[in-house]
């Protein structure tokens, strides 16, 4: 099998780079037709090899369709098509020319099954096929694939590719891929040592992975060099790991901050023990779901904008519900903070069940827009886009809130009203307005937190319950009534948690964090950023 592949790939590459594909379309069709009779993954795999061996760049299309599970066989005539599902039917396209070839009912076509092994085979084949592609990104991906699947036969095509490569980053990766292949070839030891050095320079986990497998099979100087390089990389990686854990902590902190920040208003500022806070977050998440649902069915092109659209809506929905709760329940309870616990607990039960009745008890799908998907590397740190955006978002919300609280008359009135409602009224402040709007603001912020959390967590009626305890912990740990406290509290809890986790495990880590909170409060009985002064030191 390896032999076939080697020959195939070499051939194919030569042909492809010369861009003189003349394997003949008819031949290709004949091979593709074999999919209809192939049974089981290994036979399909063989057909894939045959196709790849033609070296014709045309095969890229049917192969990637196959990898994506989009290759179909029409049962009536056993013809192979690329298919695109559209409701109950499948639109068919010619596998080579991509011409539309009509439609078929789902039941009349059979999808060609792929499994992981097959997908890997296809990916490898495509990797080599696309080494000469126009788009540098595609070439980069191809080089990446070849790095991960070293093969002595790859050396020559890679040499050719390196010679003609103009983009530096692609070239570097091609060289590493070549080095990887050198290591598994029977090239002389000096070549191999150079290869080890080249790969070692990557300094990342993939390099370790590759060198480890070399280490296992090699001997002599190469083995020693590999071992030394692995040790070397691992020691720098350990540092990066620490950095990575901090980043995880920061990103967990940003989630905690988002979840808690609305509560910092309704509870921290207004003193309402708002047990329905989590449900406000949930409402925000469901708003996102509904927005995406509408977009999916009516304006699919807007999907990447879905979160942007959902943000104001989630704010409004949650704020409106908050307004109703405040006017309907909370306003009768000022001066009786403990009873807000009872009432808002009731409200939270009602909201949960309402959502369950309307949307069903199961998870709803909220997708990630493309700009929130995937990750990028900074050095050896892998940073996922969604976490980064959530961090940015959390800090932005925090900044805006801080501005409102400290720099606007509304913020001043809010604080005055919650400090002494009766006296604030005597200062001419319309307390009912301020109360209602403040609670709505806190709820609205919880709502937009829901938009962000929908990106990383379940959107289910239980969503809120998962955050309520953490939110209270953060607000209280930071010091009630102090927004900065909430910020610092969220990040410190996040970071401590994530730094502990790799050593203690998630469960024990969490227990340790809780115990630390208990101990910390003994040291600072009014939280991290305690409100100070005579008034509070009663």
């Amino acid at each position: 099998m390896t032999l076939i592949r080697t020959i195939g790939l070499t051939l194919l590459f030569l042909l492809a780079t010369l861009s003189s594909s003349d394997a003949g379309e008819a031949d290709l069709r004949a091979i593709i037709a074999k999919f209809a009779t192939a049974k089981g993954f290994s036979e399909i795999g063989a057909v894939v090899h045959d196709l790849a061996a033609t070296g014709d760049s045309l095969v890229e299309h049917p192969l990637s369709a196959l990898a994506d599970g989009n290759l179909y066989i029409r049962e009536a005539d056993s013809l192979v098509f690329v298919g695109k599902e559209a409701g109950e039917s499948v639109q068919l396209f010619d596998p080579l020319s991509s011409e539309a070839s009509g439609e078929a009912a789902k039941d009349d076509v059979a999808k060609i099954k792929v499994n992981n092994t097959l997908r890997r085979v296809i990916r490898d084949a495509l990797g080599t096929l696309t080494l000469g592609a126009k788009d540098p990104a595609v070439r980069l991906a191809a080089a990446g694939t070849m790095f991960k699947t070293p093969d002595a036969a790859n050396i020559e095509p890679l040499d050719t590719a390196i010679a003609s490569e103009t983009v530096a980053s692609v070239k570097a990766l091609l060289e590493q891929a070549r080095a990887a292949s050198v290591l598994v070839s029977d090239r002389p030891e000096t070549d191999k040592l150079a290869a080890v050095a080249l790969i070692g320079a990557r300094g990342d986990r993939d390099a370790v992975s590759l060198l480890t497998s070399v280490d296992a099979s090699a001997s002599g100087a190469v083995k020693d060099a590999a071992t030394a390089t692995i040790a070397n990389i691992n020691s720098t990686l350990a540092l990066w790991d620490a950095g990575q854990n901090i980043w995880y902590g920061i990103s967990l902190g940003s989630v905690l901050l988002l979840a808690a920040i609305g509560l910092a208003i309704t509870f921290g500022v207004m003193g309402v023990i708002n047990m329905a806070h989590g449900e406000m977050v949930m409402l925000g998440a469901y708003t996102t779901f509904v927005v995406q649902q509408v977009i999916r069915t009516s304006f699919p092109g807007l999907f990447d904008w879905s979160l942007v659209i959902a943000l104001p809506l989630a704010f409004l929905v949650a704020a409106f519900v908050g307004l109703i709760i405040e006017r309907g329940v909370i306003r009768f309870l000022y001066g009786r903070p403990l009873e807000t616990l009872l009432a808002t607990w009731g409200v939270s039960l009602i909201l949960q069940q309402a959502v369950r009745s309307i949307f069903g008890p199961t998870n709803q799908e909220v997708g990630n827009p493309s700009w929130m998907s995937g990750s990028f590397d900074v050095g050896q740190l892998a940073i996922t886009w969604n976490r980064l955006w959530i961090l940015v978002f959390a800090l932005t919300v925090f900044g805006m809130l801080l501005y409102v609280m400290k720099r606007t008359p509304w913020g001043l009135q809010m604080r005055a009203v919650t400090a002494n409602r009766r006296m604030a009224a005597s200062m001419g402040i319309r307390t009912p307005w301020v109360d209602a709007l403040t609670f709505a603001l806190g709820s609205g912020i919880a709502g937009i937190a829901g938009v962000a959390l929908s990106q990383i967590d379940n959107v289910s009626p239980n969503l809120g319950r998962g955050y309520i305890i953490d939110s209270f912990m953060v607000v209280v740990f930071g010091g009630v009534g102090n927004l900065w406290g909430t910020l610092v509290g969220a990040f410190s809890l996040g970071i401590v948690n994530k730094v502990l986790e790799p050593y203690a495990g998630a469960v024990l880590g969490k227990i340790v964090v809780l115990v630390l909170i208990i101990l910390f409060i003994q040291k600072r009985p009014r939280g991290l950023f305690a409100l100070k002064g005579r008034a509070v030191e009663a």
């Binding site: 921290g268 500022v269 003193g271 023990i273 047990m275 329940v329 009768f332 309870l333 000022y334 001066g335 009786r336 903070p337 403990l338 009873e339 807000t340 616990l341 009872l342 009432a343 607990w345 009731g346 409200v347 939270s348 039960l349 009602i350 949960q352 069940q353 309402a354 009745s357 604080r415 919650t418 400090a419 002494n420 409602r421 319950r465 305890i469 912990m473 209280v476 740990f477 009630v480 009534g481 469960v507 024990l508 969490k510 227990i511 809780l514 115990v515 909170i517 208990i518 409060i521 003994q522 040291k523 009985p525 009014r526 939280g527 409100l531 005579r534 008034a535 509070v536 030191e537 009663a538």
Partner: protein, 411 residues
């Protein structure tokens, strides 16, 4: 003094009546269950006995919470932990009573230890084959935890929300810890499959009735003790600490000790409740440490009326009966009903059922007094004795009042 107070009028008479009812029920219910024919109209089915008995345990838990919350302003959001610890102590005894009747027939190790490959009983399980030992542990474990926890927290002057949240952190940490199979308490499944208690089959109707009676008597006893505590000078002090902790210090009282005593007593009561609960429901698992359970206890007390003795009992009975009933008849909508009930109680009965009852009665009496005296042309004292500002739980500063709408600064 105690006996004198006991038969006095008003609130104290209510305590007497409550105790009397509980003791009566402790006798009557078992009799109606065991001695009356199932076809009779007076027959009380076993499952009602089991159910009510469970509520009585909850009532005891609610009462224990109210001792610290209602009378001392310590809003514990972790009282479920003491309940659960008491329950675990009892559960461990019950596990040991299974002996070799477990599925693996191991005479020493409970089933979960067998399939998790324990080779011997962990050290902390020793002694639990004796009832007396377990009984001591039922009191000692929650009591000791509360004592240690309270010792540090009260000494550091952790109050208000901060205290509430660390009690919540405590129960949450225990929840996670008990989830761990490595802890040796059966992990998430907890302890189940009990066979006997003190040699009697836990499933037998007579045992159930006995447990029912025990729960009722224990609750009666707790009512009596709480009442005695609350009515004593110490009780007044407790409330003084609730209302103006620092002021009591300037009078020379050690507020932290005042709180610590109540907290510990309360935890022991909660532990007893848990211990009675476990043989009756047949399982104890970490779910009992769930923070939301503890919050529910707070809610029972609030619904019934905090800062009263009978209130939390009524609240616990009512909310749980409501829950049992609603989950049966309105399985899909009961959360609306229960949630609605909580909202309605807060809005319509701000001091809980008992509190409202009192102020309603109080007002009626007060208004009557006022009108009578006015008719008689005599002067009304500015604030006549009849006005009951109530030892209102709401006016409870320094507690959850954060930025201090009603600051109690001792300037």
């Amino acid at each position: 003094m105690i006996s004198g107070r006991f038969f006095a009028a008003g609130a104290d008479r209510r305590i007497a009546i409550t105790i009397f009812i509980l003791l009566a029920v402790a006798i009557i219910v078992p009799v109606l269950n065991l001695a009356v024919s199932p076809t009779s109209a007076f027959y009380i089915p076993s499952y009602i006995v089991a159910l009510t008995s469970k509520y009585l345990c909850y009532a005891l838990l609610a009462l224990s919470l109210d001792l610290v919350w209602g009378y001392c302003g310590i809003l514990s959001l972790g009282h479920g932990a003491f309940f659960a610890l008491g329950g675990y102590a009892m559960g461990m005894y019950l596990m040991r009573q299974i002996g070799s009747r477990g599925v693996y027939g191991n005479p020493i190790l409970p089933d979960f230890m067998v399939f998790l490959n324990y080779k011997e009983l962990p050290w902390f399980w020793t002694g639990f084959d004796h009832f007396w030992f377990a009984a001591i542990m039922v009191l000692a474990v929650p009591g000791l935890l509360a004592f240690i926890f309270g010792w540090f927290a009260f000494r550091s002057r952790v109050t208000g929300v901060y205290l509430s949240i660390i009690t919540q952190a405590m129960t949450y940490a225990l929840l996670l810890a008990f989830f761990r199979n490595d802890m040796g308490f059966g992990g998430n499944n907890g302890l189940t499959d009990f066979k006997d208690i003190l040699g009697f089959n836990v499933q037998a109707d007579t045992t159930r009735s006995a447990l029912f009676a025990a729960s009722a008597v224990m609750l009666a006893l707790a009512v009596f003790i709480t009442w005695a505590i609350v009515g004593s000078k110490y009780g007044k002090l407790l409330m003084a600490v609730r209302d103006a902790e620092s002021r009591t210090r300037f009078l020379g009282w050690r507020a932290e000790n005042v709180k610590l005593f109540a907290f510990t007593v309360s935890a022991v009561m909660a532990g007893i409740a848990g211990a009675l609960y476990v043989p009756q429901v047949g399982i104890i698992n970490p779910g009992e440490f769930e923070p939301s359970n503890s919050i529910e206890v707070v809610i029972w007390a609030a619904v019934g009326g905090r800062g009263t003795i009978v209130g939390p009992i009524i609240g616990a009975l009512l909310v749980n009966a409501g829950k049992s009933w609603f989950t049966g008849v309105l399985p899909e909508f009961w959360l609306f009903a229960l949630g609605g009930l909580f909202v309605a109680v807060t809005l319509l009965l701000p001091k809980g059922i008992i509190g409202m009852w009192d102020s309603w009665r109080g007002n009626v009496r007060a208004l009557r007094v006022a009108s009578l005296t006015e008719e008689a042309g005599t002067e009304v004292g500015m604030a006549s004795a009849a006005s009951k500002p109530a030892r209102s739980p709401a006016r409870n500063p320094g507690e959850w009042s954060l930025s201090g709408p009603e600051p109690q600064a001792a300037e």
